[in-house]
């Protein structure tokens, strides 16, 4: 055979394969969805979610002075768009509970003697407590605090010429003898102190590692069970299984149980390594952590089973798992601050168990929160678990097609 003929034969076989592959791809909607969907999804999600400008941090105000100047200050705080005042609290205990449970990212404390000190022109301090377990939020709050510092300074400078500003009127009305004189109000007299709590050095590892626990569990747990039923199908044991008296729900639970243990081992492993390598603390109780992880593990395993009942092959199962994994990573607050995401992204995020688990695991690990303080997050995960398990059980038919 001539070299040319051999080349032609080679080309023909190659094209035949290419044609076959193309046809298979065109007929395999799952793979097609994967090929098209993943990049589009990535583009959209990254495009929206990468936004490190933190805005609308849920904020509690502890206004001990109850003065007009403090109200003015709070209004200015909101005008920066970094803060969004969601709670008005009466005492420090309430403020800390909100911070610990993650309901707010910052607490603005206006001391009761703030207007007086302002008039005296020294020692007027506003404290902003911020949850630095999320360093991005903490940095944003710190930056906004400094901005506010400047704003106040500028305002006070203007007193010097205007003599009086609306901001200072309430202080006068307070019954104190006189308004501040320009020479007494020096720019440096008012300080805004930002106190980063929980992770004072704002170390990223301390923030990332607990989150990583959730991310790793999402992937591994989901994949374990995603392959569980489809593997039975592929190996032929499915037909044996459905001819036995076993119930769908028994198959589901039975396939989840062993992995709950596996999941807890993974939690211990990641946190142990985090401790050794990054000095990640465990401030809360390990028992609470185990308790908090339980519904999350079960939820991911149930979701995997749901995938497994829908998938025809193991490969499809892996693809479907990935479809869920991607938004979990991007929209849960693992990669980007939840507060920084646009509203629709937050809505999706609220549905994802990882979003809630991250709050649980960060709360327990970094803030030493008791599990009771995180009950709302745990219940959200339980709700997801119940729905996933019920749907998976209903879609596991003891029938052949």
């Amino acid at each position: 055979m001539s070299a040319l003929a051999r080349l032609r034969a080679k080309l023909q076989r190659t094209l035949a394969i290419a044609r076959k592959e193309f046809r298979q791809l065109a007929r395999d909607r799952m793979t097609l969805g994967f090929v098209v969907g993943i990049p589009s999804l990535q583009l959209v999600l990254f495009g929206y979610a990468i936004n490190l400008d933190v805005r609308q941090v849920p904020t509690a105000v502890l206004d001990q002075s109850r003065s007009a100047i403090s109200r003015k200050l709070v209004a200015q705080l909101e005008a920066t768009q970094t803060f969004h005042v969601t709670h008005d609290v009466a005492d420090e205990g309430a403020a800390f509970r909100l911070l610990q449970s993650g309901k707010v990212g910052a607490v603005v404390v206006v001391p009761d003697d703030f207007p007086r000190r302002l008039q005296r022109g020294r020692g007027a301090i506003i404290e902003i407590l911020t949850d630095a377990s999320n360093p991005t939020v903490a940095s944003a709050v710190a930056a906004a605090g400094q901005g506010l510092d400047r704003w106040l300074a500028e305002r006070l400078d203007s007193f010097r010429t205007a003599g009086e500003t609306p901001a200072l009127r309430p202080a006068a009305r307070d019954g104190t003898a006189r308004g501040p004189t320009p020479e007494l109000v020096r720019p440096g007299a008012i300080r805004i102190e930002v106190l980063p709590l929980y992770n004072p050095e704002r170390r990223t590892a301390v923030f990332i590692v607990p989150g990583l626990v959730g991310v790793i569990l999402t992937m591994t747990m989901m994949l374990m069970t995603a392959l569980a039923i489809v593997r039975e199908r592929e190996r032929g044991s499915f037909e044996f299984l459905i001819a036995t008296p076993v119930r769908s729900s028994e198959v589901m639970i039975g396939k989840i149980l062993p992995y709950l243990l596996v999941g807890h081992v993974q939690v211990a492993l990641v946190l142990g390594l985090g401790r050794v390598l990054f000095d990640v603390p465990l401030h809360g109780s390990p028992l609470d952590l185990g308790l908090g992880a339980l519904p999350f593990l079960a939820a991911m395993l149930a979701l995997g089973l749901l995938i497994s009942t829908a998938a025809r092959t193991q490969f499809q199962a892996i693809q479907m798992a990935f479809f869920f994994f991607l938004p979990s990573m991007l929209l849960s607050g693992f990669m980007f601050p939840f507060e920084a995401m646009p509203r629709p992204a937050q809505w999706i995020g609220q549905v994802l168990p990882l979003t809630h688990f991250l709050r649980v695991v960060r709360g327990i690990l970094m803030k030493g929160a008791p599990i009771e303080a995180l009950a709302a997050e745990v219940w959200a995960i339980v709700a997801f678990l119940v729905v996933a398990l019920v749907v998976a059980t209903l879609s596991f038919r003891k029938r052949l097609e």
Binding site: G236, E239, F240, A243, T244, P245, R399, L400
Partner: protein
């Protein structure tokens, strides 16, 4: 239809369509307690589909069945504990060992701890699996896998055993041992519904049904199925058998030929004269074709001939006993 015995399976107009294809088409069937009931047919004739419908694993498109008193598919779940099923493809767990597979079967069929212990010990002993108790199923040869599958399918002492080509790809010795086990089970009152490709196995069934394109084309005891073919089989010998095939096929009296070593086994066409007359006519026909030294004599019909007759479109439904 044979009467008398208690019906274990009663199918009424069972039909299953896959797209436009009718895998099983309006099938009526009655299997009695303690029978070994064989189901024969070429690949794709609907044997597996029929079994799956009878087990409630596959919903029939039309018709229904009563199996062990349960309406199928409606009450399929209630039927499960009383049925053992051996799939065509090995469907146990390759990554479990023999004992673990037995344990899984015993547990999933809800046997008590004490009964599990005695049943597993009995199964290991009865099927000669004791020496392999700790061997992974994946490492077993075909014959041993099949023994394990039968052991698991019978671990809960089912009333009805459904076996889908259980001996496919298994050596003759293992097949003999397997059938000895089936007879033992049947003697204990287990009803066995088995599909097979092997004629030597089919002939051992109490009753048989032939399927073709999803339809029942023959039903009856093996002897009854063979009866209509009496006098329609001839053996031809002399010279090279290969040389005989083409001339024989040309004869209008011959329906089909099968080479058996040096001889040719042939089935006479329907409406051919009796065996003696047909033998001499064929001898003359071959002599005229230049093959004078050929002996033609009557032969004994086998189930293979029944099978061939059915493939040629002859229904043996009249043979139903």
């Amino acid at each position: 239809m044979s009467a008398g015995g208690e019906a274990v399976i009663e199918a009424r107009g069972l039909t299953r369509r896959f797209g436009s294809k009718r895998a099983v088409d309006g099938l009526d069937l009655r299997v009695e307690r303690g029978e070994i009931f064989g189901c024969l047919g070429p690949n794709g004739s609907g044997k597996s589909t029929l079994m799956r419908m009878l087990l409630g694993l596959l919903a029939p498109s039309e018709g229904s069945a009563r199996v062990l008193g349960h309406e199928i598919p409606r009450d399929a779940e209630a039927l499960r504990p009383a049925v053992g099923y051996m799939t065509q493809r090995f469907s146990l767990y390759d990554d479990l060992d023999v004992r673990e597979n037995l344990e899984f079967g015993a547990e999933i069929f809800g046997l008590s701890r004490a009964r599990r212990r005695t049943r597993i010990a009995a199964a290991l002993d009865r099927y000669g699996l004791a020496g392999y108790a700790r061997t992974r199923a994946a490492a077993l040869s075909g014959g041993w896998k099949q023994r394990l599958a039968l052991a698991v399918a019978t671990i809960h002492e089912p009333e009805l055993l459904v076996l889908d080509e259980p001996t496919a790809g298994v050596d003759p010795q293992s097949r003999r041992a397997f059938w000895a086990q089936l007879f033992e089970l049947a003697a204990q009152g287990t009803t066995v519904f088995v599909s097979t490709h092997y004629m030597d196995e089919a002939v051992r069934c109490h009753r048989l049904c032939f399927l073709r394109d999803g339809r029942r084309v023959a039903l009856g005891a093996p002897a009854a199925l063979l009866r209509p073919l009496a006098g329609r089989v001839l053996e031809v010998e002399g010279g090279r058998a290969e040389a005989l095939l083409a001339p024989l096929a040309a004869s209008p009296l011959v329906a089909s030929t099968t080479q058996l070593g040096d001889a040719v086994h042939l089935l006479l066409a329907r409406g051919a004269p009796g065996p003696e007359q047909a033998a001499s006519e064929i001898q003359r026909f071959l002599a005229a074709g230049g093959l004078p030294d050929v002996r033609v004599r009557p032969g004994i019909p086998s189930l293979e001939d029944v099978f061939v007759a059915i493939l040629l479109g002859e229904s043996s439904e009249e043979a139903a006993a």
